[in-house]
């Protein structure tokens, strides 16, 4: 693919116009009023008539989306339609639960759970025949209604997409598509402004760090700018270590240029000419997309020396993480980029003053950078009009766990948890009862029923005993034991603690041991008090953000689910039937028909009994895997 060389502002305008024309049909389908027949006729005279957008994000990629794309291309070529229909591999659509996803534009048909074998039917029935393939449409669980297009789906209706604006719409490996959607126009605009004014725009917009801390982004830029130094660095923190959060990955996979452009803008404002992206090695696809994007931006002269023919030069290189959660903390991240163990150091001095190789270093998270270009293009007033008084704009959440619509969503700050979980998320899986939602990952806490109507923003979540974190949102139902959940997070923290300070290294280990004791039914009431005391000490004395927040899952579960802790300790009972030592599977002899289904499924042969005679489980042998209960057709197996 020959890429245009963009050596001046005029060049960008020309390229943008040309690319936008090619993009117009797809773009128009986003318009709420739709497209008129005349417009379609005009647009399709020379360009494509239909577009097939296939999700190429990690989730769908794991479910054979590459094969689906290939089959589409083959089928389209077989029918001689390659000049009329274009297949595009996009980034993540967000609706991962329903993947692999295929969207047809301009009519916005949204096909879910597509397999390679479905492709022929879509091509002949829909693309050629003009009839939607009904069985592949998304079905609204509440009513059983087939959704003809994505615009009417509740999952998308309440979302406002700023950071995810291009994810699922453009081909991330084609810079022209990014330019078509006003890509690099923000950088061009910034280069005609004074750096101070640009920073003021970001300050006025009220953008706060999306990595979790919520520090005002503009202030950070200002501090870095004001430090006198010959060399400065811009760092993008893409070390998304929070298990269950995947927004940074999706942005990098679906819209890598938005990060490159924002980093260049930051470089111009702070006086840095060198950018580094610190990315997890566990994200091979995101790394690949970034490498392609950086190479294309260089080829177009949008990275490198004298960008747009101005004095401004900027380039970016990648640095790989190696699997350490603590490296999401900015000082640890800097150590890691220097080739050292990722151990945090005491702040101040903050990285903005002294960071990578002792030079002033501006560290921002992926999602933060993804918000920059729209703010520059649309103005600070536009941005600050979205959200709540103290938290402006939107936030991306990775909705996962026991919720119907697992996926990536972006909503204005101030949206309530209820709207997110029940309207967009479609409620709890299997009609079970909502129990808690965990936000903020290993640093956050569990929120319950009583918090469901709290508007989500930085301050409200902290007041409720949790935090925004990077935006992971794990929904739990009645089958999840909250003591086990706290133990799960502590297990994580113990493993990920760098070991530098003792409150975190030793304290968290002790917290884990006490929790383990409680889940085994060996805890005492004193243990619960000890947990609370120790947790507070760790919070107050640990060196870095990881240690200071690591007891949050313990404190918030004790706060909200003290009864459950007491049930473990006093009654030796796990109300959610999750803790193995405290549960027992029992066969009800009056219901058991002796069909042997459970005995055959039991991996340890703990179930004995003759055919057509009620079976019995030997509790000494049983490993409580639950296979028997799932296999019983008569509901004869219960947990106690």
């Amino acid at each position: 693919m020959a890429l245009p060389i963009i050596a001046s502002f005029q060049d960008l305008e020309k390229v943008q116009k040309k690319c936008a024309a090619d993009f117009a049909l797809r773009e128009l389908s986003d318009r709420p009023q739709g497209i008129s027949a005349e417009e379609i006729k005009e647009l399709t005279k020379e360009g494509y008539e239909q577009y097939v957008l296939c999700c190429g994000g990690t989730g769908c990629h794991a479910s054979q989306s590459a094969e689906i794309i290939k089959r589409f291309e083959d089928a389209i070529n077989e029918n001689g339609l390659e000049k009329k229909i274009k297949v595009i591999r996009t980034g993540c659509f967000g609706f991962c639960e329903q993947g692999p996803i295929v969207q047809i534009r301009p009519d916005n048909t949204f096909y879910v759970h597509v397999t390679p074998d479905d492709v022929k039917e879509i091509v002949t029935e829909h693309l050629i025949g003009g009839n939607k393939v009904k069985r592949l449409l998304y079905v609204l669980p509440a009513t059983g209604e087939h959704m003809p297009d994505s615009k009417h789906m509740p999952f998308y209706k309440q979302q406002v997409r700023i950071a995810l604006r291009n994810c699922g719409s453009i081909d991330p490996e084609n810079i022209n598509e990014y330019i078509a959607r006003k890509g690099y126009a923000a950088l061009a605009k910034v280069l005609t402004m004074k750096p101070e004014d640009v920073i003021q725009t970001i300050i006025d917009a009220g953008l706060r760090g999306r990595g979790g801390g919520g520090f005002p982004t503009g202030q950070k830029w200002k501090i870095t700018r004001e430090v006198q130094a010959t060399k400065k660095y811009v760092v993008c923190n893409a070390d998304e270590g929070d298990p269950g959060a995947f927004m940074d990955r999706s942005i990098l996979e679906g819209d890598p240029h938005s990060i490159i452009e924002a980093m260049a803008i930051n470089g111009y404002c702070t006086g840095a000419d060198h950018g580094l992206i610190y990315i997890r090695a566990e994200y091979p696809l995101a790394i690949h997309r970034l490498e392609v994007a950086i190479a294309q931006a260089r080829e177009c002269h949008l990275l490198g020396k004298n960008i747009f023919g101005t004095d401004f030069s900027f380039d970016i290189e990648l640095r790989y993480g190696a699997g350490a959660f603590v490296c999401g903390e900015e000082t640890a991240l800097i150590r890691s980029m220097e080739g050292k163990r990722g151990e945090p150091y005491v702040k101040p001095p903050f990285p903005s003053v002294r960071g990578y190789k002792d030079a002033p270093t501006n560290v921002n998270n992926v999602e933060t950078f993804a918000n920059i270009c729209p703010i520059i293009l649309n103005g600070s007033k536009w941005f600050s009009s979205i959200g709540t008084e103290k938290s402006h704009g939107t936030k991306v959440f990775a909705l996962a766990g026991k919720v119907n619509n697992v996926g990536l969503i972006e909503v204005p700050m101030g949206t309530t948890l209820r709207q997110v979980i029940f309207d967009i998320g479609g409620g709890i899986k299997g009609g079970k009862k909502f129990k808690a939602v965990q936000t903020g990952g290993p640093s956050g806490g569990c929120l319950t029923e009583k918090h469901l109507d709290t508007p989500i923003d930085y301050d409200n979540l902290i007041a409720a005993g949790s935090m925004m974190g990077s935006g992971g949102m794990i929904v739990m139902d009645e089958d999840n034991c909250m003591v086990s959940v706290a133990k799960f997070y502590l297990d994580f923290t113990v493993e990920e603690s760098c070991g530098k300070c003792s409150p975190c290294r030793i304290g968290n280990k002790r917290l884990y041991e006490i929790l383990d004791k409680i889940t085994k039914g060996e805890g005492t009431m004193e243990d619960i008090d000890n947990l609370e005391n120790l947790a507070r000490v760790i919070k107050d004395t640990a060196l870095c953000g990881l240690g200071q927040t690591s007891p949050n899952p313990v404190l918030s579960t004790i706060d909200n689910f003290r009864d459950e802790y007491i049930a473990h300790v006093k009654d030796h009972r796990c109300p959610a039937h999750q803790c193995r030592a405290l549960t027992q599977y029992i066969i009800d002899p009056t219901k058991c028909k002796g069909c042997t289904a459970c005995a055959r499924k039991c991996p340890v042969s703990a179930i004995k009994g003759e055919v057509k005679v009620p079976h019995v489980i030997d509790p000494q042998v049983c490993i409580r895997c639950g296979n028997c209960k799932n296999s019983c057709k008569f509901g004869a197996i219960t947990i106690q």
Binding site: T58, G59, A62, S63, C96, E97, G99, E240, G241, D242, P243, G244, A245, F246, R249, S250, A281, E282, Y283, R319, Y320, G321, A322, G323, A324, F325, S336, E338, G339, K340, R341, G342, K357, A398, A400, G401, K402, V406, G407, Q438, G441, G472, I474, V475, M476, N480, V485, F488, Y489, F492, C498, K601, P603, V604, I623, C625, G626, N627, N630, S631
Partner: protein, 162 residues
Amino acid sequence: MKKDNCTEEVYQKVRTICANHHNDSGELITILHQCQDILGYLPREIQEIVAEQLNIPVARVYGVVTFYSYFTMEPKGKYPISVCMGTACYVRGSERILEEFQRQLGIKVGETTEDGLFSLNCLRCVGACGLAPVVTIGSKVYGRLTADKVRDILSDYYLKEK
């Protein structure tokens, strides 16, 4: 097993990787990533050569290798199994699946079966939370798993080997 792998050819590759990064100790992590790609793990011998080339103590190389979970000093099996223990997979029952793999294979997390076929590890989130719980074997991803499917998955691999 380790000794057989570490041939002079491997050492030469390690030296070339270091030289490509100007023997700069600031590039240690990038260098180790590339070195691990050669054999799939980082035996002591490789670490010693890296230290020598970068002119830093072996202890520093070892310190970095053991700090980051992505680096391993154990050879992996022909089919490396990784069970996702991210929160989304955890709340949907990945613990049971991990236990079932341990039971079926007779190894613990971080170990490799005696025939060298399977190694078992946990990882924290592959980001495919829509498919939770998720297990990867090599580059193949198994989504929406339940413990009773584990035996069938493994027997597919055993069949392939016969």
